[in-house]
Amino acid sequence: MSRTPQRAARATTAMAALGIAAVTLTACGPAVGSTGADAAAETDWSAVEPAESISFWTNHPGGSQAIEQELVDSFTEETGIEVEIVTAGANYEEVSQRFQTAQTSGDVGDLVVMSDATWFTNHVNGSLLPVDDVFAAAGGDSSTYNTTLFDDYLYEDAHYAVPYARSTTIYYYNADHYAEAGIAEAPTTWEEVAENSQALIDAGVTETAFSFPPAEDYPAWMMNNIVWGYGGGWSDEWDASAVTSDETVAAVQFAQDAVQDGWANVSSGSPADDFAAGATSQFIGSTGSLGGVTETAGFEVGVAMLPGGPVEQELVVPTGGAGIAISSASTPEEQLAAAMLADHLTSAEHTVTFSSQTGYVPVRSDADASALYAENPNFRVAVEQLETRTRTQDYLRVFLPGGDLALATALQRILTTDADVAESLASLQTELEGLYENDLRPQLEG
């Protein structure tokens, strides 16, 4: 055989191998060239019977393993539908990661816990079913959900989850320190926070009167309150220019001044732990920490509604926590059964049971929370605040992948150094816009 035919044979073999490799790679990977999610196929829910068994993926938020099992058992008893509870991660992010990677195999949970900061990405990936129709088909009444909590999952006229383990931020103070310093009442404005803090330090009862959270502990969530109080925000829908508005700059400047004036610090770990250990006198934290802090602290824990700012006094409370969403990869039968389970877990009666075991707030407006108040009077503040002062969060913090981390990193840098606030926020705006343009907008508009 001559060399030329040998070369030709080798070239043919190489081309064939490359072709096979290319076909194999593209066959198993994502479909290239399209970004938009398929239009959800219309399902005639009246013709669908619920599945006999489904799976529920959860991280057992707030240590809820036992109460989740109890509620699921009562669901099975009522409906005959078997539910496999899967511990799908140690936190919301891990559940979302597992849900995302499982999309390739299709072996995903039918009902899945999704936090306020993880559901949107899964929606953009086309992995979540809009819940409005299926929830109604399952006999659920979504009108009794707290409107703010339910609308946290609203995007373009459809809801993608129902509220489940939901929280808000709340103002914690050391009541013993307050009494020792002769402070009669919790602050209602940030100006009063500064006054109370200075009084605590002047009275010598504490070295650190107030703690901001570090980058690891969601400072942008907590600081929504102060920024909204000053009339600013982290974004106006997808527009990041709000982060450099005069109002936002003034709010962040106030926080930086608080640290530099010495009445506040940035906690190295968790402000809740520092507070419970008596190392700081006040902090803003999740209502989910209420039970743990009250139990751990060796002093009387006081809680109050979040303070208002010079511009906005009422709608200054961000919501948080997680909802439960239905997988679009499940069969209609499984989706219907999952919606029935979602309604059961979040019914007016069960949401109170869940709250009493975890510290999350009841998610239904018709829930009777009097038992909760009897058990822990501080809970009344959390629930009243939820009903009157909450608002949905800014898009770029909760919907933009990496948005919260960019905000957290920038805020920590500003609060722990003498960085120029306006310049730092301008740099942050550029970063947020870059993330949106590169990583999200093509998918939203595809």
Partner: protein
């Protein structure tokens, strides 16, 4: 026309079948779990793709351009190089000193060797959690000791540079034992008559170390240089536990995690980072094998 021996031909076929029977399953597994993911990853690195999404757009070389031109990419390289150089040098220098100290027959030396090696076999996650209790400025042991001495604890977690120093200290502490034990084995393999001869020639301790011990340790140094560089560049567990969001500690592997599986969820960009990591590690190892090994003295 060449003639073929039918016996020889049959034997070749039989040998080929035997080879396939023994090596085939392994080759298949290697192809499925090494080469297929490698090629897939190369393909994914050219996509703008979010993990879990069934759709993606073609990004060409954009992910690579971003890695080498963006400020975040530059910061990642700075942190990676700093972390690798410092931890490799510190692990090897301190490991050699510890090995020299433990290379004596004195009471308790076995316990000392065990103690120095023990951190290496511990889980990185556990090590990170324990050291978190030590470094916490408010509630940690170190902060308490410093306050007792009238000093304030540095803010290890709030300052990116200090956070990098902190994780490097912990990483070196954990991996020092490995270097020490390997150096110890190297020291014990040096022929005693060479050291005797150097003593007879009145060579001092320093001279014996630099002229006899160190050159004869060069195979060990070479081995440790290759393994510790590869290990440092792939460090992850301690960094993730002690600084979950990568504030100042985002080495290339940690950045890969943050981009692919963490808050950014940009699987295409993460794939590009891993391709570059593969090329860098391959190049470093090839360079060491090709050039550095020539300077090694085998006794």
């Amino acid at each position: 026309m060449p003639t073929t021996n039918p016996h020889r031909s049959r034997r070749r076929r039989r040998d080929a079948l035997v080879f396939l029977a023994f090596a085939g399953p392994n080759l298949l597994l290697i192809a499925a779990f090494i080469y297929y993911p490698l090629l897939s990853n190369l393909f994914y690195s050219t996509l703008n793709w979010r993990m879990g999404s069934t759709r993606a757009t073609n990004a060409g070389f954009d992910n690579y351009v971003r890695l080498f031109t963006s400020p975040a990419g530059a910061e990642m390289w700075r942190v990676t190089i700093t972390f690798t150089v410092v931890t490799v040098l510190a692990s090897m220098v301190l490991g050699l000193l510890v090995a020299l100290a433990l290379n004596h027959r004195v009471p308790g030396v076995t316990a000392g060797r065990t103690a120095i090696f023990a951190p290496y076999v511990l889980s990185g996650v556990g090590v990170g959690m324990v050291w978190n209790f030590i470094f916490d400025p408010q509630l940690g042991v170190l902060g308490h000791v410093l306050r007792t001495l009238g000093a304030r604890s540095p803010e290890w977690y709030l300052d990116g540079d200090l956070a990098l120093v902190m994780v490097m200290i912990v990483y070196v502490w954990k991996n020092l034992g490995f270097c020490a034990v390997v150096f110890l084995a190297g020291l014990q393999s040096i022929p005693k008559d060479l050291m005797e001869a150097a003593r007879i020639d009145r060579a001092g301790a320093l001279r014996r170390f630099f002229r006899v011990t160190l050159p004869l340790l060069s195979p060990t140094v070479f081995f440790l240089t290759v393994t510790t560089i590869l290990s440092s560049m792939q460090a992850f567990d301690i960094l993730k536990i002690m600084t979950p969001s990568g504030n100042g500690t985002n080495t290339i592997v940690f950045e890969l995690y943050l981009q692919g599986f963490g808050p950014y969820q940009n699987a295409g960009y993460a794939a590009a980072i891993s391709v570059v990591l593969f090329v860098v590690l391959f190049a470093i190892t090839a360079f060491q094998m090709r050039y550095v090994e020539k300077r090694v003295h085998y006794a």
